[in-house]
């Protein structure tokens, strides 16, 4: 604040300069982590540090980024959404089915797929909000329902014969940048604005931080939960539509590994599972960390099994850094 008094800087503790550096380190620890990992990979693999590879990393992780943006809001709220992978598959299949068998145009098929995903989220949100289900339970159920429906639609096979122009969404590019990356960037921007510039964003943090205080402040807590889970469902279906375009088909089996990557990215990005804490930019850094590690280890020829181990270790490191940061802050008081 501009009205900061000089007395503030004279507070006890480390000297001002030192304090500033510590604050910066605390704030940007995820970013620093990303740079360190990138630096190591740049030194060990000659292919890592190229524009092409960078764009490739962005494309490979655009879907996880979209899922993670919805998931960030859910986790800030103190809830969880296990159904994103299932809704992704459902979105993929619904879009493809509408185009191939439903005789609908591209736009209307996409819209229907997005509505389907949003509805799935809204339904799990409804049970969380008005029947006091734990979101773990209602989204676990929705995970089965959405994936099951996707497989029923496709009879376990794939839907082929999508119109050629639909490919643009998943395979096209504007300039050097792939369309899924652009879509993810737009979702990122909207998600960030939503959380930081709108009343609802404020309410999400408040509900995640102290649900009773939020209720006493007149916030309709159930409504907030329903909206946020609907947003996460929307993000799932959007990722599914992009997958349909990238694969040129509707498949009920996609995105099975995406749930864990999504949660991992959100946590690495500094969002607390306890709720109330987290940002979209942080989550994007988390997505990039996972993406960069995957990519770098691929370039180095490390097996994907070891990649799983590496990501597990990173999760532990990220949460550990957060925990140390938190204790440090408490000491400072």
């Amino acid at each position: 604040m501009k009205k900061e008094r000089p007395a503030d800087t004279a507070a006890s503790g480390p000297a001002p300069d030192q304090k500033k550096i510590i604050t910066l380190l605390k704030r940007f620890s995820t970013l620093i982590g990303l740079f360190l990992i990138s630096a190591v990979l740049a030194l060990t693999s000659e292919h890592f540090l190229s524009a092409e590879n960078f764009l490739n990393i962005l494309l490979q992780n655009a879907n996880i980024a979209i899922l993670a943006i919805g998931m960030t809001m859910v986790i800030i709220l103190g809830e969880i959404d296990l159904s994103v992978g299932g809704i992704e598959a459902l979105g993929c299949v619904v879009a493809a089915w509408m185009m191939v068998y439903g005789g609908l145009g591209i736009i209307s098929s996409i819209v229907i797929a997005l509505i389907a995903g949003t509805l799935c989220g809204m339904i799990s949100g409804f049970f969380v909000a008005y029947f006091r289900f734990h979101s773990f339970v209602s989204t676990l159920a929705m995970m089965g329902i959405s994936r099951g429906l996707a497989l029923i639609y496709t009879h376990g096979a794939s839907i082929y014969g999508l119109p050629d122009s639909f490919r643009f969404i998943g395979q096209g590019s504007i300039g050097p940048i792939a369309v899924p990356v652009i879509i993810a960037a737009v979702v990122l921007l909207l998600g960030h604005l939503f959380l930081t510039q709108f009343r609802m964003g404020n309410h999400i943090y408040a509900v995640g931080g102290n649900i009773e205080a939020a209720r006493l402040a007149g916030i309709n807590v159930g409504r907030v939960k329903m909206i946020v889970l609907s947003i996460s469902g929307f993000c799932g279906a959007l990722a599914g539509v992009i997958m349909a375009s990238r694969l040129n088909s509707g498949q009920g089996t996609i995105g099975e590994a995406d749930l864990l990557d999504t949660i991992a990215a959100v946590i690495i990005g500094g969002t607390s599972l306890m709720g109330g804490v987290g940002t979209i930019p942080g989550t994007i850094l988390g997505v990039l960390i996972i993406g960069v590690i995957r990519n770098g280890l691929n370039l180095l020829g490390v097996s994907s099994f070891w990649q799983m181990v590496a990501i597990g270790v990173i999760i532990i490191c990220a949460v550990l850094v957060d925990e140390i940061r938190r204790r440090f802050q408490e000491k400072e008081r």
Binding site: M1, K3, E4, R5, A7, D8, Q197, F198, R199, N202, H203, Y205, A206, G208, G209, N210, E212, A213, A214, R215, L216, A217, G218, I219, G276, V277, Q329, R333
Partner: protein
């Protein structure tokens, strides 16, 4: 003091499971009056006030305000009527900052694109919060500090800033002096007197009778969910009120 009550609660009853928390309780507060609400633990003081603030809904009974019957079924209703409550645990969200807490649920926004988008007016909220906090003489330098980084006294100040920020007619304070030092209690009692001077009524739940006697106009005693007595503080003594709290029989008729 005028004759017409600002707020009148009539025949309020509330049960939690098998527990009768309140039985046919009447309660009234006049304009610009400070009422102390006292009683032993589990007498029903907080429950009665939470009904007035909309945190609970009464099973039975009516609430009248300025001569009109009103319906308070949630905290928004109560706030819209100009009733604010300072909760004993402050009801603040520690993870968000001071001005966000003060304006929680009533955020100031600016319209964009003809009201299609309402964007938070953070600067306005921060500036006004800073003014409020300065008026309360709180030693908090930045309103962008997260509330969990504040001391207990500072947190209470934020909670107080929130209840006085919106032109309340009636402010309910639940045990506001319970966790304060002597100096801070004095400051709070001064504030309550100032609120009265501005025409605001205050209901003051407390165990500390000397606090109530130093600012209160009347004191109402609850016991086991019933109202058992009322005194003008000028016409009674702390001893008498203690006797009511501890051993009192119902001396007022059930209406």
């Amino acid at each position: 003091m005028s004759d017409a009550p600002l707020v009148e609660m009539r025949n309020i009853s509330k049960t939690f499971g098998a527990v009768k928390a309140l039985q046919n309780v009447n309660f009234e507060v006049m304009p610009a009056e400070i009422v102390g609400l006292v009683g032993d633990n589990a007498a029903g003081k907080s429950t009665l006030m939470k009904i007035l603030s909309g945190a609970y809904v009464a099973d039975q009974g009516e609430i009248w305000m300025n001569g009109n019957k009103v319906h308070i079924s949630n905290p928004v209703d109560s706030r819209n009527l100009g009733i604010e409550m300072l909760y004993q645990n402050f009801a603040l969200a520690g993870n968000i900052n001071i001005y966000q807490n003060i304006y929680l649920g009533r955020e100031l926004t600016r319209n964009y694109l003809g009201g299609l988008f309402k964007i938070l007016d953070k600067k306005m909220m921060a500036d006004r919060s800073y003014e409020l906090i300065s008026r309360l003489k709180i030693d908090v330098h930045r309103v962008t500090k997260r509330v969990k980084e504040l001391s207990g006294g500072q947190q209470q100040s934020v909670a107080i800033a929130r209840v006085i920020a919106f032109n309340a007619q009636l402010i309910i304070m639940d045990e506001p002096t319970a966790n304060l030092g002597i100096k801070e209690v004095g400051r709070l009692l001064d504030l309550i007197r100032r609120l009265k001077d501005q025409g605001i009524s205050v209901i003051f739940i407390s165990h500390r009778l000397d606090d109530i006697f130093s600012v209160g106009d009347r004191v109402i005693v609850l016991k086991r969910g019933k109202r058992i007595g009322m005194r003008q503080t000028k016409e009674t003594t702390e001893k008498e009120v203690v006797r009511l709290i501890v051993g009192g029989e119902q001396e007022e008729e059930d209406s």
